[in-house]
Subunit: 426 residues, 2 copies
């Protein structure tokens, strides 16, 4: 049956997305490789490549490897065709960066601050740091295309507003996007753990995995879920809130009240705040000379003090960390049975504290999960620490910028959506 017809704009869109996504995620390609990988014909690949070169998103490069005949020309994604401003806001520090369209970091600033200072103070400061990054980067080839923000609390992704965030007083339903309206580019806001999961997927050890759980163990505990290679946000956008799953010990215990108001949440036992609290108790009760000395010196203790003490062989601290790891492992054993991921990535400040925690988590997961679900399961520590948030925020922005629906808007408008003039904001 003949099926050669003239293709309308709506239908050619898919070929365009396919070609752009392949070159974008692989960095470069050739026309024959594109034909092979996408199943599109030579005529369509040629046409789509020509359009993307015209849009300034692809560039012809040097000759690529020959497979017998004339060597094909390399096509390169023009990551410098545009830029992104991104910020990863934690509880006590902020990372701000300028990234290109491939999500690579061009300039980066990290600073201690306090999220509890409220949205006016904090977002004004983020704006100043954006300007500082632009200043450091010097003259740029492309325009600003988008802004991405990660916040340490629940965010309604559709509106970009934090919803009743426990450690962010004054931020409830704050219109974060509007604070960046002057840039005249789209702004996406999500919670920091989702953003970090995207960072792992794009640039960390989750690359190439389809079903991933990223767990952040910092002051609190949260997770970001990747299903079939895409972030799963859930019906209300609050998927991944594993810190408030109840995880009991084998033989019962007194109730511990969590900051959420419920009792015996994972976070109330195994989060960084809980570890600091328990360490101070041990120090005061004379159960650890090491922790007592640290408390005398600093006046308070946190998870890094416990990790340091455990590394020096302090028995009470080793027990604190193994107890925390066991609880995290119990929660994850349930997640593994339910979700059957191929990879669990452990990140956040407490995770960076040492191998003991990771080993305990692993042991607990393998012991309590279905054998088939753990057959090829990998549990690893994040290798992106520090930059994971800003890389993930940049990935969030590029994923949204290059989504099919948005590309359809470009095709209609004849120009990319992002129009912000970098120069106008220096």
């Amino acid at each position: 049956m003949a099926r050669t017809v003239s293709a309308p704009a709506e239908e050619s869109l898919n070929g365009l997305v396919t070609v752009l996504d392949f070159v974008r995620t692989h960095g470069s390609s050739t026309r024959p490789r594109l034909m092979h990988a996408t199943g599109l014909t030579r005529a369509v690949v040629t046409q789509r490549v020509a359009e993307l070169v015209e849009y300034g998103l692809l560039a012809e490069g040097e000759l690529g490897p020959s497979t017998g005949g004339r060597a094909p020309r390399l096509l390169r994604f023009r990551a410098d065709a545009g830029h992104l401003l991104v910020a990863d806001l934690g509880a006590t520090s902020v990372d701000v960066a300028l990234a290109d369209l491939a999500g690579s970091i061009v300039a980066h600033v990290e600073e201690p601050y306090d999220i509890a200072a409220g949205p006016d103070v904090v977002l004004d400061h983020v704006n100043e740091l954006f300007q500082q990054c632009l200043g450091e980067a010097g003259p740029l080839s492309g325009q600003l295309w988008g802004i991405g923000i990660g916040l340490p609390g629940p965010v309604e992704f559709g509106s970009g507003r934090p919803i009743a965030p426990p450690i962010m007083p004054g931020w409830d339903r704050h219109p974060v996007r509007e604070r960046f309206a002057d840039y005249d580019v789209p702004v996406w806001v999500d919670n920091d753990v989702n953003v970090m999961a995207l960072g792992e997927l794009r640039a960390g050890i989750a690359r190439g995995h389809e079903n991933v759980v990223f767990v952040k163990i910092g002051t609190g505990i949260g997770s970001g879920i990747v299903v079939s290679g895409r972030l799963h946000r859930g019906a209300q956008g609050c998927a991944g809130d594993v810190g408030h799953i109840q995880v009991l010990d084998d033989h019962g215990e007194g109730d511990v009240v969590c900051r959420c108001g419920n009792v015996n949440c994972l976070e109330a036992f195994a989060g960084g705040a809980a570890l600091g609290r328990d360490a101070e108790n041990l120090a005061r009760r004379g159960r650890s000379q090491f922790l007592a000395a640290a408390l005398d010196e600093k006046g308070s203790l946190d998870a890094s003090d416990v990790a340091r003490a455990a590394a020096h062989g302090d028995a009470a601290s080793v027990e604190l960390i193994t107890n925390a790891g066991r609880r995290v492992g119990r929660m994850l054993a349930g997640v593994v049975n339910f979700f059957n991921p191929s990879l669990i990535v452990i990140g956040g400040g407490v995770a960076g504290a040492g191998d003991l925690l990771l080993a305990t988590i692993r042991e607990s997961v393998y012991r309590r999960s279905l054998p088939l679900a753990t057959r090829d399961l990998v549990v690893k520590r994040s290798t992106l620490e520090g930059l994971g948030g800003v890389i993930g925020a940049a990935t969030m922005v590029t994923d949204e910028l290059f989504a099919p629906q948005r590309l359809a808007q470009w095709l209609d408008a004849g120009t990319p959506v992002g129009r912000g003039e970098l120069a106008g904001h220096r």
Copy 2:
């Protein structure tokens, strides 16, 4: 920029899938409605419709509603263009059906049997029931296009083989597909809970939901997970195994060993087998006259006896059911925090036993989950009981038959993949 080029087969495939999927899932449509809903132009819709009529998958019907001008002609999905044979195998009963390409049941047989009789006996019997269904249905207009089987244990979806299924002795890695090779059509096999979840999604209360957890509480406990409108099978295909998540009580207790070898699994407390075991113990220890009388009469007790006793006000049975519901609710509270579904469907034999279980589950989920995650969460009982498995098995087959990759094979071959002659199997 002009983008009018001649479209090759690979690219026109998407339009074909879009048109077919829209008419198939809506039952009927018109060309103007298709243009509006899919964004395809009049020329492409006309061309794709002509192709699908030629394939025998769409038919022109009577005139549809006019929106001003000439009334457009109705296009109808020809559900009778082909047929499917499906079977839902439980622990103690089997449902076999003949379905059309819309997943509607044309003939249905249900019988008690024993899955533990092994694959030879059971699958030969399924084959006989297939023939019985064909006999009941009488002459059919279309050929056989595919076969779908649900099994009560873990299944490797890619190979269609059960993997170490606990209640299916002799079935480990059995090549189920090969038993149906004579039909010369593709065969898909999955576990019964995934299949029932698909049934809820296509024909039950999960219609239109994007993120759903279907929980089957029968002899054992399992779940099927729908993410973004599609079944999530996980990395090893064993996602949803919630029956073996550890769920402890608030104040500690003796360990209960589960049939999986681990201790304190949800199923060991709240599954149908556990309820029967606990009911028999209560009867023997004189804690319930009602249960003791039933045990005298029947020699053994199951979940339906407990439900009946509870409905008659037997205090010990009410406590058994509320304890079971509380454990299921605790497990689901964790699932809600992690996954943030919009709907939880409770099905299976034990779920059908009464409202007390559902009410306790609901109360427990709402109390233990994040408020944002339960804001619009619905927890409901399945309304498909009985037919859910075979409708789901038919949905599994049509989802696979009409998947884009398979449609590509049709386009290459010029004919649908299913070629089995129904007449040859009578």
